[in-house]
Amino acid sequence: MTDFGSMLFVFVLATFIGLGVIRRVSRLLYTPLMSLTNAISAIAVVGSIVVTGADHPLTIRILGAVALFASMTNIVSGFMITDRMLKMFKKQ
């Protein structure tokens, strides 16, 4: 049970931080923000790697591989397009 407690704690605290940080993001950058959070939420990659790489039945590992592919796509495209957009913003 304490396990659940830690999780809840981490979740609540992280949400506090998220709301605090996002509320201060520059309005100019809302579009890049969306793609950046895309990439970050692809953290599901961690779960996918375990499912794909561990010694599981084939079907399971196939599911994992698809998931891993999907997450990786998000990571790559998310970070790259964010940087591409941010490069465009110049003060003068």
Binding site: G18, R27, I40, S48, I81, F89
Partner: protein, 470 residues
């Protein structure tokens, strides 16, 4: 998780937080990307090096495939960014759903451990992960389709009697099954029940989007974004992995806040967006008094602009559609060269996603110091010589101020109508996304420039002997 796992998780979390924190200023923003990439690499490596990972080939292949698809996806034109975002939410949802399914059947596989592993808490998390993941998957695919204006996906909202009942019903069944599973996770029928839940979630995702109009998709996308984040959190609860929880929570809050911002800027509620069937073909209002539209020649417009001291350009979705941002830049250069002060008035929901106009204008190398928020520019509008409305419509529709009848009533707008003269560029007399007429165009001091924004602007620029750098 071994110590190295714990530490790398904390490190990655901190890096993700900084990544978002640095987005508070364009000057530091790119640092944020580096932080994000670093954090993600730390997380991937720390997971990969764990002893139980044996099938490295599989991982390499999947990752490689991810690059193959991801790189082109990151090169799409900026007008396609909303679709790309929706698509990536779909991928995120899919990943969450699949991992959840895989984990469940793994545990179910060994009846010995099943009872131990599938605690009520973990089982509920699993159900939540799968429902959220799969509904985000199909929902986001639909959203992407509508934004991409795929032929066989209707743009306008499709509604039928009892629709909400059906939708809620589907979701309710899925949840009910979930409760059953939580109560007896190892039952003989458990496997089928789980798959049924997944299927229902997939269907619900589709049903959820059908009644929503294409132009509401940006808001919907943000909401789906929040769902995707929550799915990651649920996965974290399932796998007892804190990094998933923190990253998911960060993603969730971002989705939540952006959708709130959009709803505020449109003066609408979540429920209205999700169930309002907004943007259905509206009966053309004000059919009564037909004021006539005054047109202006490009030559006249050029003169008018040249002689004015300060010009405010109000870009909208039309500029995005026409890809006119580079021509806008040329006009900006030509006018500033002639000593006219030019500012851009950016409405929070101009275009089709938050910050849409900013990115487009930044792409055309217009300094972001020239982009002014709605609240800052409105007080200046009465002293403005010319307001150039460039493919914007709803965000400058004065009806939002007083006409309780219109769907956009109460939405804060840019006071283009208060400028001394208004020049408006659009192709036709058709209304904007909200589907309502806009009296700004027939105002006494308004002059229309009909045509595609890009075409009109290049003609304008020609008048100035084609100034500009490009």
């Amino acid at each position: 998780m071994p110590l190295v796992g714990e530490l790398s998780a904390v490190l990655a979390t901190a890096l993700f937080i900084f990544a978002l924190y640095w987005m508070n200023d364009p000057k530091t923003a790119r640092r944020g990307v580096i932080a994000g990439v670093t954090g993600m690499s730390v997380a991937v490596i720390a997971t990969w090096i764990q002893p139980e990972i044996l099938h490295h080939g599989w991982i390499v292949v999947a990752i490689f495939a991810g690059f193959l698809v991801g790189v082109p996806l990151s090169r799409v034109p900026l007008t396609a960014v909303p679709q790309r975002t929706a698509l990536s939410h779909a991928f995120g949802g899919l990943a969450a759903g699949l991992v959840g399914t895989a984990e469940y059947f793994l545990w179910l596989g060994e009846p010995a451990t099943a009872a131990v592993q599938l605690t009520p808490f973990r089982m509920s998390a699993l159900v939540a992960e799968v429902i959220l993941g799969f509904l985000t998957f199909t929902g986001s695919l639909m959203a992407a389709g509508k934004l991409q204006e795929v032929r066989w996906i209707p743009q306008r909202p499709v509604t039928y009697p009892g629709q909400n009942v059906v939708n809620i019903g589907v979701l309710a069944i899925a949840v009910a099954l979930g409760v059953l599973l939580v109560l007896n996770p190892g039952a003989p029928w458990a496997g089928q029940a789980f798959l049924a839940i997944a299927g229902l979630a997939l269907i619900f995702g589709v049903l959820l989007i059908i009644p929503i109009g294409g132009a509401d998709m940006p808001t919907v996308i943000s909401i789906l974004n929040a769902y995707a984040g929550l799915a990651a959190v649920a996965m974290g609860f399932v796998l007892n992995n804190k990094l998933l929880v923190t990253a998911g929570a960060l993603d969730g809050s971002s989705g939540l806040i952006l959708s709130i911002i959009m709803c505020r800027a449109m003066n609408r509620s979540f429920t209205n967006v999700l169930f309002g069937a907004f943007g259905k073909a509206q009966p053309a209002l004000a059919a009564g008094e037909q004021k006539e539209w005054k047109q202006e020649t490009v030559e006249g417009a050029a003169q008018l602009l040249e002689q004015s001291r300060n010009v405010v350009i109000i870009p909208g979705y039309g500029m995005a559609v026409a890809q006119a941002q580079h021509k806008v830049r040329e006009l900006y250069d030509a006018l500033t060269k002639r000593g006219v002060t030019v500012k851009f008035a950016i409405h929070p929901v101009a275009g089709r996603m938050p910050g849409h106009m900013n990115v487009l204008l930044a792409e055309a190398n217009i300094p972001y110091s020239a982009l002014v928020e709605m609240d800052e520019i409105n007080p200046e509008m009465p002293q403005t010589d010319v307001a150039l409305v460039l493919g914007a419509n709803d965000v400058v529709n004065p009806a939002a101020r007083y006409n309780k009848g219109t769907p956009i009533y109460g939405m804060p707008i840019i006071d283009a109508d208060k400028a001394k003269t208004v020049l408006a560029v659009k192709r036709s007399k058709k209304p904007g996304f909200a589907g309502i007429d806009n009296e700004l165009y027939v105002q006494d001091n308004t002059w229309m420039l009909f045509g595609d924004a890009k075409a009109v602007l290049s003609d304008l620029v020609k008048q100035f002997g084609g100034g500009g750098i490009h």
